[in-house]
Symmetry: C7
């Protein structure tokens, strides 16, 4: 069985596509995470209502995340 | 009696249909889960307002889930 | 006095009518539950805006439940 | 001083009028409760937008309750 | 320094004006409280959209309270 | 480094401007606080949609606070 | 791997751009933080619907934060 945090561990340094509760999409490389699924991401690009914005490095609070896709 | 997490345990490697709080439907094979009902799913197809999207492998945060159906 | 979880215990294998926070109604036989009132239900029928849908067996997360009626 | 749970204890077998977060009113006899203010109620009548509905016996999750009035 | 619960302790048997998250105002005499700021109030008058309603004695769940004013 | 609760400790008896989740602004002198950032404020003035209202002494539940500015 | 709180530790005395749940943007220098990601910020500028406002020093509750970008 694949535990969610183990799957996240294997995704460090890989590219993720996140869906947030407010409908925003976040694409970026995973640098780190903690037990609450707070994430550190690099080379982040945010998409909201078809508008893209580059954000560099961010901390994303896990409570806002709906899903994390591996791309 | 069937405990919710025991039922989830037996569903590993089976197909699930999830309803999320934002109305989205997620269909995929269950790879794993944790005590918060965070789920790891593979071969995921998301349906929102009758639009389908393939997402591959995802982690889904349990706090967004309304119900998990076995199909 | 009747503790809520004791009342749930006695309802195993009986038919329940649930009201969810999003207005949906869920009818089904209770197979099991846990301390967070996550429920396992069988022969489930969901009603939303007067549209019915059969869901078979589901896990329902307790945090979405408003009330559980015994029918 | 009257602790909230002590006041609830004394209300067992009495009639309550509950206001829920979604605006619904619930009237019923209190059969039991737990520390989260989950309630067991009997002979329940629900009122929503001036429409009444009889529900018999229910478990009501405390997280949906705004106020409990003694009538 | 005045701790919030100490200030509440001194307000027992005094009149309070509460603002709830749904915009409702509640006026009443404080009979008791607990560590979650669940309150027991007596001689309660509720105001919503300029309509007043007398509620007698109520338990109010602390999670719905925005502010407690001393009047 | 300045810990949030240490900064609050130094602000006792000083004037604060709070922004609440519902858009309301609260101005008042800080009398006390607890670990949940529940606050006791005096000489409070509330502003909502450009309407001001004097509230005297209040307890404000921390869960409704977005930000606390020092003025 | 970069833990979220370690990344925050290294950002003390640096400029951050925060996105809040209500759509507000907050720019300011990080003075401190705690384990809940409550933040102390200085020289704060808030942007809401293209209107800017200077706030000086603030405490920001972590539960309102979506993301923290390093600029």
């Amino acid at each position: 069985m694949s535990l969610p945090l183990d799957v996240l561990e294997k995704a460090v340094n890989q590219k993720l596509l996140l869906l947030l509760k407010d409908g925003r999409h976040i694409e970026g490389n995973l640098l780190g995470y903690d037990e609450y699924m707070n994430l550190v991401l690099d080379e982040v690009e945010e998409t909201k209502d078809e508008t893209k914005r580059r954000l560099g490095r961010i901390i994303l609070r896990g409570s806002n995340v709906v899903s994390i896709a591996f791309i």
